[in-house]
């Protein structure tokens, strides 16, 4: 196990060096000039050269890269060029949690919705629920995230009646369906019928309550987790970005889990569990989920890594002060290379470490792999 982790870490080094070197070369080529951004309109050529020398910008790319690398190894991320005195590490500390929160909330939402839906679709393969959910998933995959974001803003911010009545209608339909199943299963005994009717009442009550208390979601104005306005405000302001991020992932995860789960459900031990009279929920959650979750975990890891680096769009739509915003607006646009390099380095490290961790997690999921190693 330790050896596997060590190997992964060793492989991390060349990737990170290539990524950061490529970043500094790319930034060198970007036309923005950070010194002009500092001195503005008043400075003359003398000022320009002085600042250039002070910041070490008169040296070539490679020696600057080596300097930067030497500092990084000592844990010093340096200062922002365009805003002297502002530590890059502080900026990263401010922006990383925002990106992280959106990505995490998106992932949690995606898994919470996709796992039950995918499992149920696999269990009920070929039925109306399966076809409807698979078709919807296929459609959702084809909605680009920026379009999804605008669509959500359009519906939740400008026309909140749409999701509100949508939820109300769907909830009432569900509760009616539950009542219908009570009628269809009227020979199952009084206890079952009672549970179903109770479920129908609860569902109807919850949807009416939700539609009544429908919260309004802000388009912009992110409230930090640590701010005085409280956690609830933070969650409310992060809700739309998180849903935007989650939407595609829900669909992808669902399709994947459904496919794998359907294969698992053909196994003999599932049949024997069924024959013993285990309820389907228990079979799906206890017996079938673990062996079916390999591809899901791989993909979830890749997706999470991508989300950390790829929330630029969501940050642009909802004006979030995140990493993407920092790297693009404060970094690339002004040629502020410490910001870009450190930001990209963090994102890339996160991505590679995450993928390595997933590789290693396989052996926890499947005992057979443990012995093979």
């Amino acid at each position: 196990m330790l050896r596997a982790i060590g190997l992964k870490l060793v492989r991390l080094v060349p990737v990170l060096i290539i990524v950061s070197l490529a970043t500094s070369l790319l930034i060198e080529l970007v036309p923005g000039d950070p010194i002009l951004a500092i001195i503005g309109m008043e400075g003359d050529a003398g000022d320009y050269e002085r600042i250039e020398r002070e910041l070490g910008l008169d040296q070539n790319v490679f020696s600057r890269y080596v300097d930067w690398l030497a500092n990084i190894v000592q844990g010093d991320f340096g200062e922002q060029i365009t805003r002297p005195g502002v530590k890059v590490a502080d900026r990263l500390r401010q922006t990383f949690p925002v990106t992280m929160q959106i990505a995490l909330m998106g992932m949690v939402l995606a898994l919470l919705i996709s796992v039950p839906a995918g499992a149920w679709a696999a269990y009920r393969a070929g039925t109306r629920f399966d076809r409807l959910s698979s078709g919807t998933a296929f459609g959702i995959i084809s909605i680009p995230s920026f379009l999804a974001g605008l669509l959500l803003v359009f519906m939740f911010v400008f026309h909140s009646a749409i999701p509100r009545y949508g939820v109300l209608g769907l909830g009432l339909l569900w509760s009616l369906w539950l009542l219908g199943s009570t009628w269809r299963g009227r020979r199952d005994g009084a206890e079952r019928a009672l549970i179903r009717v109770a479920a129908a009442v609860v569902v109807a009550g919850l949807t009416v309550w939700l539609a009544n208390k429908w919260p309004s979601f802000p388009r912009q104005g992110f409230v930090r987790w640590t701010s005085d306005d409280g956690r609830l405000e933070n969650l409310r302001s992060a809700f739309l970005p998180a849903i935007t991020v989650a939407l595609t992932e829900i669909a992808v995860f669902m399709r994947l889990l459904r496919g794998d789960m359907q294969a698992t459900l053909q196994e003999d031990y599932i049949l024997s569990a069924r024959a013993k009279g285990m309820p389907p929920v228990r079979i799906l959650a206890r017996d079938a989920l673990r062996p079916s979750s390999f591809s899901l975990i791989t993909l979830a890891g890749v997706a999470f890594g991508r989300l950390i680096g790829g929330t630029v769009i969501v940050e642009a739509i909802f004006r979030l002060p995140g990493m993407g915003d920092l790297i693009v607006n404060d970094g690339v646009n002004t040629g502020d290379f410490p910001v870009v390099q450190s930001g990209v380095l963090i994102l890339a490290t996160f991505y590679v470490v995450l993928n390595g961790a997933i590789d290693i997690s396989y052996s926890y999921l499947d005992p057979r792999l443990r012995r093979a190693r």
């Binding site: 990524v19 459609g139 920026f146 680096g309 769009i313």
Partner: protein, 355 residues
């Protein structure tokens, strides 16, 4: 990962002699009614409801779209038998329609992009001069959307073409020779893929400017490692097969084994993935344009450029069609490419579809 698009009982329904003679005509009638009602709903949505409440419009379009698609599917099934997949053929049809419009545009139609400030932010109306409305300065949304389709297709097909050509060769070599070639290949592809994609694209466009050519080349930078990895993985499995050993035993050169024995086996699965990656690239190009760092919006309208108007509060609120017309076109195109790619994969990639 297996896509079981047909319900499991579908094969049983492939009947040679129709045991139930009334069913075909019944589903013909039902399909025709459904698609008719759906089309009517969409028309009503555009003609009558264009200034009514938004939720009514959205509901009408969704139901109309659903009815049209399911109705056409029923019709296709009834006419060509249950073995065909209606969704795939509908997708092919949509891509065909798009291509026809692109060629019409190349032939000089849909060219007019003059601003007509008096008629700005006109909603879509079938009877009007501009059936899909006008944008914030009064340019025709329809003409822009069709020109945007041209850009999307050129960028998508161009960069995936490059990615397919280069990636296949690199992946073949890495997967066949193994050793240092494979090691270098792995580290390089890891590096490119670990780099946040949008930031890479953003930087390249910032350096070289936002022309169609630059964006195409920049996106091919991303499709090369993707296609290369797939090519390598496929090569690995085929290089261990008996026919390769047999060819080597007969004295075939490495080049011959690579290009005459392995490549033909690898090419088709890769091509089916390439179709899906075209969709990904179209989305990526539009994302760049959406962020305002893609293809220059003044000279070349693209779908992403059009949709990025929606970042302004007022556009999304008062003239949502500026966003949703290109949005729907893009959605349908990406959906169709995904669908076609998926079907081709089931057809061409025996390894995956066997499961």
């Amino acid at each position: 990962m297996v896509e079981v698009s047909a319900p499991p009982d579908a094969p049983e329904r492939v009947e040679i002699a129709d045991p139930e003679p009334g069913r075909r005509s019944r589903s013909l009638v039902e399909g025709a009614t459904r698609s008719g009602v759906g089309a009517a709903l969409l028309l009503v949505q555009l003609k009558v409801l264009y200034d009514s409440t938004a939720w009514l419009q959205v509901a009408a379009s969704l139901i109309g779209f659903y009815l049209v698609v399911t109705g056409l599917s029923l019709l296709i099934r009834a006419m060509f038998g249950t073995r065909v997949e209606p969704a795939t053929w509908l997708s092919v049809a949509w891509l065909g329609v798009l291509l026809v419009f692109v060629f019409l545009q190349l032939a000089g139609l849909f060219d007019n992009l003059t601003a007509d400030f008096a008629n700005r932010e006109q909603p879509p109306q079938f009877s009007a001069h501009e059936p899909l409305g006008t944008d914030r300065v009064g340019k025709s949304v329809m003409n822009q959307a069709i020109q945007g389709a041209r850009v999307s297709l050129v960028v998508g097909i161009g960069s995936v073409g490059i990615g397919l050509a280069v990636g296949t060769i690199v992946g073949l070599v890495a997967g066949y020779y193994r050793g240092p070639a494979e090691g270098t290949f792995n580290i390089l592809t890891d590096s490119i893929l670990a780099f946040p994609a949008l930031i890479l694209l953003f930087t390249i466009v910032a350096i070289f400017g936002g022309s169609v050519l630059v964006v195409t080349l920049a996106l091919s930078m991303l499709s090369i490692p993707t296609m290369g990895r797939l090519a390598r993985a496929n090569t690995l499995t085929f290089a261990a097969r008996e026919f390769v050993t047999a060819a080597r035993a007969m004295g075939a050169s490495n080049g011959r084994i690579l290009f005459r024995e392995i490549l033909p086996n690898v090419a088709l699965p890769l091509a089916s993935y390439a179709v899906i990656i075209v969709a990904v690239v179209i989305v990526a190009e539009a994302s760049l344009s959406f962020l305002g760092v893609g293809i220059d919006p003044i000279s070349t309208p693209t779908w992403g450029n059009m949709i990025s108007e929606g970042r302004q509060q007022s556009v999304l609120k008062d003239a949502p069609h500026i966003v949703f017309v290109p949005g729907v076109l893009m959605f349908l195109t990406v959906l169709s490419l995904n669908r076609v790619g998926e079907s081709l994969r089931v057809l061409w990639d025996p390894r995956e579809s066997k499961l």
